[in-house]
Amino acid sequence: MSTGEDVLFWILAPLMVIAAMGLLFTRKAVHAAVAVVFVMISLAVLYIAQEAPFLGVVQIVVYTGAVMMLFLFVLMLVGVDASDSLVETIKGQRWIGALLGLGLVAIIVGVVVQVTFPPAVGLPADEQTNPVTLARILFSDYVFTFEVVGILLVTAAVAALVLTHRRRLEPHRGQKERADEKVARLPEGGRLVSLPAPGVYAQHNAMDVPALDAQGRPIPESISRVLRIRGQARSESSILESERDVMVEHMPDHSLLSVRADLPDTAGTDGAADAHPGPDARPDDGPPDDATPSGTESEDR
């Protein structure tokens, strides 16, 4: 061990142990996962320092890159805030577990300290690089093991597919089925097409303003149901009145407005059916196709 490696080890090893303790003591599973990622990257550094650069790179790619990200993925799937329950199902399990863990440390460290290892030889420094050395061993002495490991990986992939497969319990609802349902619901007031989009006016283009139909009547169901229930939808009369104010302000020629204001009395029979408080304020905003829905589909209203 050179001095540099000594320094590296004594910096990394305490950090690794602290991070590994984080696995024991953190409340949230995501924190534990990040701690384990740190341990694994540090291990990769130690591998590279220990003449195993190939394993170091594989450690980073496979463990931190694939395995731990898979862990995080499953954590997100299961729910990040699924915290541990603190109820002991087995009495005294915590103390027994801690005792066993400490005992394991004592036994392993005690045995390892007492053993006299042979002086470290170090890998033979020939012209082969480390991956080439590993490949020569892997594909000569361990060919059969390698094949078996390949079979194992395929089996694991198939097993994951089988385990996470969910059988469809009800028949698939395709486009035709949905269309048939809509048609079947027509007698009790269903709609064939999607709801109109909320109002698009010259002055207002907002979710809380109702659209106007071809006769200039507001369509109440064009506003989101949530806004209507909450009472946050603006009443159409207030919109139309403010619109009229703008028109008056920008159009000094009042005669045109007054002429147009006579119109609703003639066509007002169908406009009054709709709880429309200001009939004289209605036609002031130009041609009624101002108020046609903007054509965007909004299904969830």
């Binding site: 395995v67 329950s85 199902t89 863990g101 890998l123 990986l153």
Partner: protein
């Protein structure tokens, strides 16, 4: 002799992983403890390979990594399947065989 530190570190990491398996209830954290134990073993393998000047230890560590990856895939799939049926990732809630 001088590489003993690595073995000791490996033993400590292994023990922490084992204690995690014993103490934690969240199945995913328990699984991370298993991974930590496998990694500690890998560190010991790499250290012994260096100590004896034989790259076979590194090959074994490589196999351990592959097997660990396969194990993670199956284990996490099992956890997801249990979570789907029991709505919980705690190892205490898998008690259908009890009573």
């Amino acid at each position: 002799m001088e590489l003993m530190h690595y073995i000791v570190l490996s033993g400590i990491l292994f023990s922490i992983g084992a204690a995690t398996v014993l103490l934690r209830r969240n199945a995913i954290i328990v699984f991370m403890g298993v991974e930590l134990m496998l990694n500690a073993c890998n560190l010991a393998f790499v250290t012994f390979a260096r100590m004896h000047g034989d790259a076979q230890g590194q090959v074994i560590a490589f196999f351990v990594m592959v097997v660990a990856a396969a194990e993670v895939v199956v284990g996490l799939a099992i956890i997801v399947a249990i979570f789907r049926s029991r709505r919980s990732a705690s190892v205490d809630d898998v008690n259908l065989l009890k009573n």
